[in-house]
């Protein structure tokens, strides 16, 4: 009986520790993915200039929801195109955030990436 509870104890410890390791890895990978995204901004001057122009227009049009939404949609399309150029896990992570179910979250994330442009 003691062995049974010892096994349960080690199962609980091993699983929770692996969840910690996995989530830490996820945070690290996303950080790397966003670094790669910034590198793409730097290497693609034309797209970067377009995104910067969109960012300026988004900032100017904050009061008008309609115009704001229009520019966010434009930025979304361009950022998705850029994210497709990332590799493997990194592409998945950036695309997941760009396509997250929350509309507010998607817009916030696009805003964050535009800040980096």
């Amino acid at each position: 009986m003691t062995i049974f509870f010892d096994v349960l104890r080690w199962v609980a410890l091993a699983l929770t520790f692996s969840a910690v390791a996995s989530s830490a890895l996820q945070v690290f990978r996303r950080h790397r993915a966003e670094q790669q995204m910034r590198q793409l901004f730097l290497s693609n001057a034309e797209l970067s200039a377009e995104l910067r122009a969109i960012r300026v227009k988004v900032e100017q049009a904050r009061a008008s929801e309609e115009i704001d939404a229009e520019f966010y949609a434009l930025a979304d399309a361009k950022l998705q195109m850029l994210a497709e150029q990332l590799t493997g896990q990194y592409r998945k992570l950036v695309l997941l955030s760009l396509r997250q179910p929350s509309v507010v979250g998607r817009r916030n994330y696009i805003g964050k990436l535009l800040q980096a442009a």
Partner: protein, 132 residues
């Protein structure tokens, strides 16, 4: 006059709000027991707390692996709780340092997951409090 009041960035506010609501508030029953019971916190309460805390965290997770881990940890501590109620001394193997480490790992894993969601992905915690 008219000076801008600086506060935490929105994404960090979402993150701390989430940590308070999902990670700290569920600990209140244990804190209350620790405050009001002369014998401190009973191991049965700790086991029950871990099983409920684990499943509560797992349900709010978006990751299937974390959900599976939380269900297994919940089952492990449900079994340990049952054994302790039946006065089996073997169940104490899951208590003490092990229980503290399991709670610590759960908090850490969920904090990292929430950091990824609310700070990195900019996902709002209270969807209804923000407009699309």
């Amino acid at each position: 006059m008219g000076a801008k009041v600086h506060s935490l960035p929105r994404e960090w506010r979402e993150f701390f709000c989430c940590a308070l609501m999902l990670l700290l508030l569920p600990c209140l029953p244990l804190v209350a027991e620790w405050l009001f019971s002369p014998n401190g916190v009973d191991e049965r309460s700790v086991f029950m707390f871990i099983s409920m805390y684990s499943i509560g965290i797992g349900i709010t997770s978006r990751n299937v692996f974390y959900f599976a881990v939380s269900v297994i940890v919940c089952l492990v501590y449900c079994v340990a709780y049952g054994a302790l109620v039946a006065k089996s001394p073997h169940a104490y193997a899951c208590a003490g340092l092990t229980a503290k480490l399991v709670i610590g790992f759960m908090v850490l894993w969920h904090l990292l997951e929430r950091y990824d969601r609310h700070v990195s992905s900019q996902e709002p915690f209270f969807e209804f409090a923000d407009k699309a």
